[in-house]
């Protein structure tokens, strides 16, 4: 059974935000509005955040692409009273939108604050309704949502392989953000396969995880800038 994860090389991110656009299109994340952003209610599964470290004159600016850390020990799944958020056998932390009661316990439990709540009915103005991805459920108001590692693409890849009577190749399943990245800053693959590029990079001496001390064992690994 593969254990899907990704490695993000912070040296390679140019901050172009292509991953944010690709993620929003693939995951049916509504556009939102400046008003919602001002209220702190914008939903963005994928974000590219500018980070400034150090003090003048020894400053270092960098971009930090960040999304659900796909923890191996997710803090969010333990606390859900209805098991609406859970970890699949392949390690993907997913969310069942029709079951979620909107208690926001998981959102509070996530130490990375990378789960999102639909405070109001999501708006799909104009033609954007027709542009939604039919493979991904549209969320209603009052439920929590999150990056599910483009789980629908994994389903497609498996079905295609089954239809052709063969087993799925690992490179057939690529999340939208990884596919869209022009600098190949995000590398995706099976972390349990020692031959995969992702698992090789995850073992690099530059590798680190966000908030390692919390013990959530994220499957998103970052590579320190050189």
């Amino acid at each position: 059974m593969p254990r899907w994860g990704m490695v993000i090389d912070l040296d390679k991110c140019s901050g172009c935000q292509a991953c944010v656009v690709a993620c929003s299109a693939a995951g049916n994340v509504p556009l939102g509005s400046p008003e919602l952003a001002a209220m702190g209610r914008l939903i963005r599964w994928m974000q590219v955040l500018p980070q400034v470290e150090g003090e003048y004159p020894h400053l270092r600016a960098q971009m930090l692409p960040i999304m659900c850390q796909q923890c191996d020990k997710p803090a969010c799944t333990y606390v859900c009273p209805v098991a609406a958020t859970y970890k699949t056998q392949e390690g993907i932390v997913a969310q069942i939108y029709w079951r979620c009661i909107g208690c926001r316990y998981c959102v509070n439990a996530c130490p990375y604050t990378l789960k999102w709540f639909n405070w109001s009915q999501p708006q799909w103005p104009g033609a954007t309704t027709e542009a939604t991805n039919p493979d991904v459920e549209l969320r209603d108001k009052g439920v929590t949502e999150k990056c599910c590692l483009c789980h629908h693409r994994l389903q497609w890849a498996k079905q295609r392989a089954r239809a052709e009577g063969r087993s799925m190749r690992p490179d057939e399943y690529v999340p939208a953000c990884v596919e869209a990245c022009p600098t190949r800053c995000i590398v995706f693959g099976d972390l349990d396969d020692p031959e995969s590029e992702a698992s090789r990079l995850a073992r690099s001496p530059r590798a680190f995880h966000l908030l390692e001390e919390v013990g959530t064992k994220p499957k998103v690994t970052y590579l320190k800038p050189k």
């Binding site: 702190g40 209805v82 098991a83 009661i101 909107g102 959102v107 509070n108 604050t113 108001k141």
Partner: protein, 445 residues
Amino acid sequence: MMSHIDEEILRSVTTRPTRAYRVTCIVLALVLLWSFVAWGWQIRHGLGVTGLNSPVFWGLYLVNFVFFIGISHAGTLISSILRLTNTWWRRPFTRLAEAITVFSLPFGATSVIVDLGRPDRLFNVLKFPHFTSAILWDVVCITTYLITSCLYFYLALVPDIAVCRDRFRDTNSWRRSFYRALAVGWTGTPAQHRTLDRLMTGMSIFLFALVISVHTNVSFVFGMTTKPGWHSTIISPFFVLGAIYSGVAAVIVFAALFRRLFGLEAYLTQKHFNSCAKFLLALCCFWFYAMIIEHLYVFYGREEAEFNLVYNKFFGDYAVLFWTMFILCCPLPFIFLAVPRLRTLRNLVPVCILINIGMWLERYSIIIPSGAHPYLSWGLGSYFPSWVEISITLGWFAGFTLLLLLFVRYFPSLTIWEIKEELGANSVTQSGTDQLVGLPIAANS
């Protein structure tokens, strides 16, 4: 045959309510009604009508949840634990304490339902229970607590309902059959008293365990996350302690109110209030101890996220809130409760109201600052409640007070059979009721 005591305590039930009482009830009912309008508005438009945002995911509703469940514990404490230890001064307070328990619990429990993004899916908790979630434990705990305390409340009421039944025997009002049905044939035989006593003792023991576990579970909702400020071992005992502290203060406020309204000075004496105030003083000291310990550990631990949060509470955005809360919960009540000359009924009521405001603010300063300062945050980090949240909060407090006011109109506000027990015990050792009213009542009784 109605005794003098029955007649005096039943005065709230037998006499026509005053104009002020009726006006108060109508105003409270209107406030409660308005909060339902606000809730309807929220159900229609989603939680977007609140001031909540990312990362302050929990706000006023959760504060009310902890507060109402908190004051409900006073009832159980005074009426069950002090009943087990046979503390003499509990007797005139037990009925009110139990009433506060039973009437605050529904508002505590519904605060969580109001907070849900999808209240229509509430029963998913039963359909898809996930046993590692503290919210599921809470549902189990609070339901058990509500059922048990209702039963306990009713049991202690039965002998007094029988007194009401006898009082209204010769009238034609609806009350006659109402009391007769509820009194379940109580005649006050020694055998019935023995059964009641055995049942009450058994339930007291069960409730004792329940009161600790319920508020521990309430604290688990916060403590079982990794959030800075919430994830600590002291949060559970501190929650239980704070619950009892605010609850006992609430009992004193309502006891003083009903004493004044219905002329119960002979039964709720200055001496009872004095003893209860000393008990409150002890709780105040414990509260101070827990408060110091909680912050001292964070200060010396120097864990960055925790430390920043405490720094923010002490000197940052939440400093005014935090220090107001601290003064209202500890130094101020301490002076008025510790100095015998200041421990008068006239002072006790405002002090107890301030303690409850302080304890409400304490819950606010636990929930909101931690929400605004998570480990990693990409959002705003500020929160101000909207009109919907404020309306529902006011409505819930109005509803709770309204239920109490309505209750004392139809049922005796003191436990008559226990008062008689106390008077009986005293008449053996002392000479009649003189000992009870021995101390001069300093307040405007």
